[in-house]
């Protein structure tokens, strides 16, 4: 019985949202209310998850784990950010400058690090995966498109070369489109399962 109620609510909500999308004039207003509820629930879930994360790090500090120093850093920064936001307000340009000055370089450097890591992985790629049609095709196509990306061929300004480059640049779009079609079918099926309440870990 406990499991039926959430399932029933989820299914009913999903069908109502669908109905609201199909008949927006008559049901659109009520759909907005339901969306408001969803936004509130999502925001509360986020708050709960953040609080839980904070508590988990706090417990690590209390237990004195090996990584408790980093948990301490997390807790201090978290409290500073939270306190600053509450006191100064999110609209304060100084607060925003402070946050963006830390967050932006951190995230950009993470992405740069990922680029370096992937470049290094290129050396290990064949040793790890061996020779196979997929790996050989990947390697060859990557080389071709990297060379095209360099721009040296475009400088030649030769119409046949430009035509070949244009054709080659269409190939990944074609291949990716096939993958996207398959992915979208899969997402559709998963969504149908979710619509009937079979989604969340229930198979």
């Amino acid at each position: 019985m406990k499991r039926i109620i959430p399932l029933f609510v989820a299914t009913l909500t999903s069908f109502f949202v669908l109905a609201g999308l199909i008949w927006p004039v008559s049901l659109g207003g009520y759909l907005n209310i339901v969306l408001d509820w969803a936004i509130i629930v999502g925001a509360m879930a986020l708050l709960v998850a953040i609080a839980h994360l904070f508590l988990a790090q706090w417990r690590k500090i209390a237990r004195g784990n090996r990584s408790s120093f980093y948990s301490l850093v997390f807790v201090i920064v978290f409290l500073l950010s939270l306190g600053g936001g509450l006191v100064m307000g999110v609209d304060d340009p100084e607060y925003r400058l402070w946050i963006s000055s830390i967050q932006k370089p951190l995230e950009v450097s993470l992405l740069g690090l990922a680029a370096v890591v992937m470049a290094g992985a290129g050396v290990q790629f064949y040793r790890t995966r061996g020779w196979s049609p997929l790996t050989v095709a990947f390697g060859v196509s990557a080389l071709v498109f990297l060379v095209i990306g360099l721009g040296f061929l475009q400088v030649l300004n030769s119409p046949p070369v430009n035509a070949i480059i244009k054709t080659l640049q269409m190939l990944p779009l074609i291949g990716a489109r096939g993958l996207l079609i398959g992915m979208s079918f899969g997402a559709l099926i998963v969504a149908l399962k979710a619509l009937t309440g079979e989604g969340v870990g229930n198979d």
């Binding site: 986020l46 709960v48 996207l180 099926i189």
Partner: protein
């Protein structure tokens, strides 16, 4: 009722076709016809990792991604929850239970909810700890950054990244490689699949993401879903071929 554009009509037709394909797949499953599934390395590795974690007395680490963000709601994250549930059920009485890190609040709570259900089914609710399913961070980069320290733990037997990850999560793959940790990456977006193709030793491509639910061979409904996918793919190929012929012959302007 809303006015449907041509694209909308096609979308509705595809949805109806999908339902029909599921029905046909269900009918086929009820017959005695047996079909074999293509073995996908990354998917079968999930089961092998689970065995190893049990034997070694270590834990299995899951990165569930951030597919349920308000910015980008996608039901694909739910496929990862199915695997999380199956693995957790097998790890209830292990030396160390499975651990999940998510990049989004709703997904973190859902994974906790699923885990609690697993422990309830095993009549071992006292063993449930909320720390087993945690939030790693609030953005894609923060979630990946929150995953890295967990990958670095010595108590990991293997790492499974399943769900929607950003290419930054390839850092986790690199770290796992340097620690000689087995890692399987099962992702649903093209950019993540491309990143993990090169950085992770085991990864899935394309719609193999949906085959992850067959990892433990107990979920016949996942096979039903995959068969429906195959039917839809066959229909798509047929439609493309017919469209190409019609275009070449000038029927379609």
């Amino acid at each position: 009722m809303i006015a449907l554009s041509f694209n909308d009509i096609i979308a509705v037709a595809i949805a109806i076709l999908t339902i029909l394909a599921l029905f046909v797949s269900w009918l086929v499953s009820r017959s005695k016809v047996r079909s074999e599934m293509r073995a996908i390395e990354a998917v079968s590795a999930v089961e092998a990792f689970q065995h190893e974690a049990a034997e070694k007395g270590k834990r299995l680490l899951f990165g569930l991604g951030d597919g349920l963000t308000p910015q980008a709601a996608s039901v694909n994250a739910l496929a990862g929850l199915g695997i999380w549930r199956e693995t957790s059920a097998r790890a209830v009485f292990n030396d160390q239970p499975a651990q999940a890190i998510t990049g989004e609040g709703s997904l973190a709570l859902l994974s906790q909810m699923v885990l609690r259900g697993v422990y309830q089914d095993a009549v071992a609710v006292e063993l449930f700890k909320t720390e087993q399913a945690q939030l790693g961070g609030l953005s894609a980069a923060a979630g990946a950054a929150g995953l890295l320290p967990e990958v670095n733990q010595p108590s990991n037997a293997a790492v499974i990244l399943i769900g929607n990850h950003s290419p930054i999560a390839s850092l986790a793959a690199n770290l796992a490689g340097r620690k000689n940790l087995p890692l399987a990456a099962i992702n649903d977006t093209l950019t993540a699949q491309s990143a993990f193709l090169i950085s992770a030793p085991l990864s899935t491509q394309g719609e193999d993401y949906y085959a992850a639910q067959t990892a433990f061979k107990l979920q016949s409904k996942a096979g039903l879903q995959l068969r429906a996918l195959d039917i839809l793919r066959a229909l798509t190929v047929l439609a493309l071929l017919i469209g190409a012929v019609l275009k070449l012959t000038g029927v379609i302007p």
